[in-house]
Point group: C2
Chain length 213, copies 2
DNA sequence: GCAGATACGGAGGCATCCTCCGTTTTTCAA
DNA sequence: TTGAAAAACGGAGGATGCCTCCGTATCTGC
């Protein structure tokens, strides 16, 4: 299972921020570098948070009061920047999954998690665009956050499948993909209600039940 | 119902290509203009058909052997070009809806139509990108094709609702949006099977059923 | 305080978007 | 047939964005 392996390495590497992996004593990171990184992140949160996930990176750099080169050094791609900006959010969703797993019945946990996801996204305008990028590119394979979310939903899914409550032929990736898709590009007022309803429909469809005849 | 009105005007205008609307005797369209329009369309079909919905418009113009200015004169926006390229496809889907309405039971008609949509999209690589644009922008309001699809699915939906087979609180827009979303950004091999399964789940969720107690 | 390591930043090459306008082609009426 | 006006052509050019590269500035450990 090469994919999971790569993921674990990635998480380990990121979490500890380069623990003496192999052959690098490496002095501590420079103060100005850390400062600038924070500035860029802050600017990105501001700019993307305004809903413009496609804002130019130059605008972000300008907002941060930093050269474009500096931005690219810290975040080589737009995805990397999104990743850093929304990592926190993904972690919150993962934590929520753990909690729901303890506190709710399998299918309810899944259902509630998906609802929370929609509501969460609703408060973070930029996140939709970020998620779209994450889902649409194969970069999903390289995204810490996206894997976090996939794992979270997969735990909920597996539990519900094992309890015999939902069908077993829909993958976690498909679930997440659908969830993001439901949130995506709904910009009119009232989209949140639509999205929540669509989640209801979808979860209902996942249920194993007998149809009225 | 201002939206529908605007739509009708649009259809009429396009269909008859400017029938003496009000005060324009207007000479007949120039031959070279018509020829170039066709060339651009053909080139666009080729380029987008190869799956590159984000190809540069300059590339399309080059392929068509036409200046970039000419392309923009005929199709002021990328969406307008998509619209023209895939208008035909949308009409086919609309026709299919009519047929299914005669030949299948309400919910089956809806289900089959959605399946056909997925399969259809699978054969037209560029179409996914086009649909994404159409759905994501509010340009949906100004799109002939998108309205055609919305109307088609709405007829199927309404019929199924009236037959008491599906819930009545999901709009045609939501259905179409979800359908497109399910197709969107699935690029790995085997996406078609995933997508068809997701459609099954979704339609199942639309059903009015009694839960297992 | 110094030297080397590290980071900065923006100029510059490239691509795309889209507009504007001088030139060319077509149409129509005389 | 012809010539002038209308219509369309096409591409140069200004604007913006992406990303890289490298001369310069700053920091850190000694």
């Amino acid at each position: 299972m090469p994919k999971a392996k790569a993921l674990d390495e990635k998480i380990a590497g990121k979490k500890t921020s380069g623990r003496a992996a192999d052959k690098k004593p490496s002095r501590k990171p420079r103060a100005d570098a850390a400062r600038n990184r924070e500035r860029v992140l802050e600017a990105a949160r501001t700019v993307f948070g305004a809903g413009a996930a496609d804002a130019s990176l130059e605008a972000v750099a300008r907002t941060a009061g930093v050269g474009i080169g500096t931005l690219y050094r810290h975040f080589p791609t737009r995805e990397a920047l999104f990743e850093a900006v929304y990592r926190n959010e993904a972690e919150q969703m993962a934590t929520l999954a753990k909690r729901l797993e303890r506190e709710a019945k399998p299918i309810d946990a899944l259902h509630q998690w998906m609802h929370s996801f929609v509501r969460f996204v609703a408060t973070k305008k930029g996140m939709v665009g970020a998620l779209a990028l994450v889902v649409s590119k194969d970069s999903a394979l390289f995204s810490y956050s996206s894997d976090l979310l996939t794992r979270a939903i997969d735990e909920l899914r597996t539990r519900a499948v094992n309890a015999g409550e939902i069908r077993d032929d829909i993958s976690a990736e498909d679930l997440l993909h659908t969830l993001v898709a439901i949130c995506y590009a709904h910009d009119h007022s009232g989209w949140q209600e639509s999205a929540l309803r669509l989640v209801d429909v979808f979860v209902d469809g996942l249920r194993k039940r007998r149809a009225i005849r």
